[in-house]
């Protein structure tokens, strides 16, 4: 279980998170929704160790991982698909995937994982030798997810995976997220603007607003919550 308690994070003088609590049960899909600047990405960054936590605690299976260096967080099995994709533009597609598997030793397993990633995103296989910087936006998003899978995480945090993705593929990606969760047993923390889809596939959801959790519940309950419907589901 990944547990964030009373987390407070600031960018200089601007406090971005005011004491938030988030629990991600093992094996579940948990989603964070909220409008722009709510603090969703900030939460993920803090968990990954990219930001200094001002106060509060982050625990992984009872172990305190607050302010741990990012590479050590990854070593413990938490991988992030960051906002803005952050693929390595000067490396080829394969090399990007290799970077994903950076901490892994077992070559046989890694090999079969390439195949797995390519089976999810066949486009990547077509572009295998292309320099990633010249990929289209959507292709880059696929690469970012594929790269994260290569690290064989226990916990996968996805920051807006549907951003800039064609509708057909959005559905695919969400299906794959569920698949990854079910088949590989990877726990997922999903940040999404597309709240509809996110709540559809997740078990539990948090609604963030200006750095605070204003609502949390089972996903099916959130989907019928009037506040959520009005503000995040476009009133649909």
């Amino acid at each position: 279980m990944l547990e964030v308690s009373n987390l407070e994070v600031a960018y200089g003088s601007i406090t971005a998170l005011h004491s938030i609590n988030v629990r991600v049960e093992k094996g579940k899909i948990v989603t964070l929704i909220g409008s722009n600047g709510a603090g969703k990405s900030t939460t993920l960054r803090a968990v990954s160790g990219l930001l200094k936590v001002r106060s509060g605690k982050i625990q992984l299976e009872g172990k305190d991982i607050t302010n741990l260096a990012p590479h050590l967080v990854v070593a413990l099995g938490i991988t992030q698909v960051p906002e803005g994709r952050m693929i390595f533009p000067n490396l080829t597609v394969v090399e990007n995937l290799q970077m994903g598997a950076y901490r892994r030793k077992n070559n046989g397993e890694v090999k079969s994982d390439y195949e797995y990633v390519y089976s999810i995103f066949p486009r990547l296989r077509e572009r295998e030798k292309q320099v990633a910087g010249t990929l289209s936006g959507g292709e880059q998003q696929m690469l970012a997810i594929g790269r994260a899978l290569m690290s064989k995480p226990l916990y996968l945090m996805l920051d807006e995976p549907s951003l800039g993705i064609a509708p057909l593929l959005v559905r695919t990606i969400f299906e794959k997220i569920v698949e990854i969760n079910r088949q590989l047993g990877i726990t997922i923390l999903l940040v999404e603007q597309n709240a509809n889809l996110a709540l559809e596939i997740s078990d539990y959801g948090y609604v963030l607003e200006t750095g605070r959790v204003i609502l949390e519940d089972k996903s099916e309950s959130l989907r019928v919550n009037s506040l959520v419907r009005e503000s995040y589901l476009g009133g649909a």
């Binding site: 960018y11 600047g37 990405s41 960054r45 990219l50 960051p82 906002e83 803005g84 952050m86 951003l163």
Partner: protein
């Protein structure tokens, strides 16, 4: 801007009065401080003008000393060779003016008093130096525009070295022997006058819709072009204006020092100016001015320190307490570059955003939404 202009006006007036009261007596008693002040003025011109290129337009130029050299040698040889010929042609005993004035003997006493003539000579020479340097700026600017970052840096560095090598081979300019400039016309008024003009031009350009173009080139060339901004033109203008003022600084230096050597304009001189710009905080004119002053004064402070007994005394004290034998630490001070470099490192580590520059600091890459 208007308040700044008032301050500027008062400042210039002050300088002008100062120029009128005559600075020779002042200079002879405090010649050393006078020298430092003049050098501050010259360095301010150099740093502020380089800041237009490096700080505001985001082009990394390492050849400012080259433009300064062009200005210095052009202005110097103007005063030494060209101008006397011209003056002779106009006002010499067989000159045009004499010929014209011949029928009017009563006009002849109204020749220029020397003070006026000196100042005039300085302006003309300085404009000449500035213009030639600007021309060099154009020559470097246009072809270099295809280049970015470190590639541009190397080309500008190369340009500076080429200028230096050429001067080393032109006998007319004295080659390695150096060139004497007899007219030491430079004074406080013109040095700070030109510094003020440089500051005014750079700030005036940048603080306008027109000049915002420089900043957009720095931030994002692709977006700037997409907003209809001719990035090429802006870069060339930055180079030309920067070079012009470097040239004027060169001329002021030439007419102050009275002696020029190619080695005075080597790569390390360019680096000195770059250090001022970065320490000042790129794109912050106030910071850059302060940095120019600070970096001119600092070596002198270290020089003064080397003459005190402080260090040997401290050493004796230390050796008294701990039984070790250190090499004479006074040498640490005598070689001022040791302390200077240390201070440089410390300043950068403690104030990486520059003395004042909020810009350089805020321009650091953030992993936030901007990169989405």
């Amino acid at each position: 801007m208007s308040r700044a202009r008032t301050i500027l006006g008062i400042f210039l007036l002050f300088l002008f009065l100062f120029a009128l009261t005559g600075e020779r007596p002042f200079a002879s008693h405090l010649a050393y401080y006078y020298d430092i002040l003049i050098n501050i003025g010259i360095n301010v011109i150099l740093a502020v003008s380089l800041n237009l290129v490096n700080g505001y337009t985001g082009q990394f130029s390492l050849g400012h000393a080259g433009f300064m050299a062009v200005g210095a040698y052009a202005a110097g040889s103007w005063s030494e060779h060209l101008s006397p010929g011209l003056v002779n042609f106009l006002a010499g005993s067989n000159g045009v003016l004499t010929f014209v004035l011949q029928p009017f003997p009563f006009l002849q006493p109204f020749a220029f008093p020397t003070a006026v003539a000196d100042n005039l000579a300085l302006i003309v020479a300085t404009m000449f130096g500035g213009l030639l340097a600007a021309l060099a700026g154009l020559a470097v600017g246009i072809p270099s525009l295809r280049l970015r970052g470190d590639y541009l840096a190397i080309v500008t560095l190369g340009f500076g070295e080429i200028i230096r090598t050429l001067i080393l081979n032109i006998d007319f300019l004295g080659a390695a022997r150096g060139m004497s400039v007899t007219g030491r016309y430079t004074n406080m008024f013109w040095t700070f006058g030109f510094a003020a003009v440089a500051i005014y031009v750079v700030l005036g350009l940048v603080n306008s819709t027109y000049g915002r173009g420089f900043l957009t080139v720095r931030d994002d060339e692709v977006a700037a072009e997409a907003m209809g901004i001719n990035t090429t033109k802006y870069k060339v203008i930055a180079f030309v204006v920067g070079a012009f003022f470097a040239g004027t600084a060169g001329s002021l230096f030439a007419h102050y020092a009275g002696f020029l050597t190619p080695e005075g304009f080597n790569f390390f001189k360019s680096v000195d100016v770059v250090v001022m710009v970065i320490l000042g905080g790129m794109g912050s004119t106030t910071g850059v001015i302060l940095a120019a002053a600070l970096l001119t004064i600092l070596p002198e402070v270290l020089r003064a320190l080397a003459h005190t007994d402080f260090v040997p005394a401290a050493q004796k004290a230390i050796e008294g307490v701990i039984p070790i034998h250190l090499p004479p630490l006074q040498g640490l001070l005598e070689n001022r570059l040791i302390l200077y470099s240390l201070l440089l490192i410390i300043m950068m580590l403690t104030r990486p955003q520059g003395l004042f520059g909020d810009l350089a600091g805020s321009r650091k890459r953030v992993t936030s939404s901007a990169s989405k």
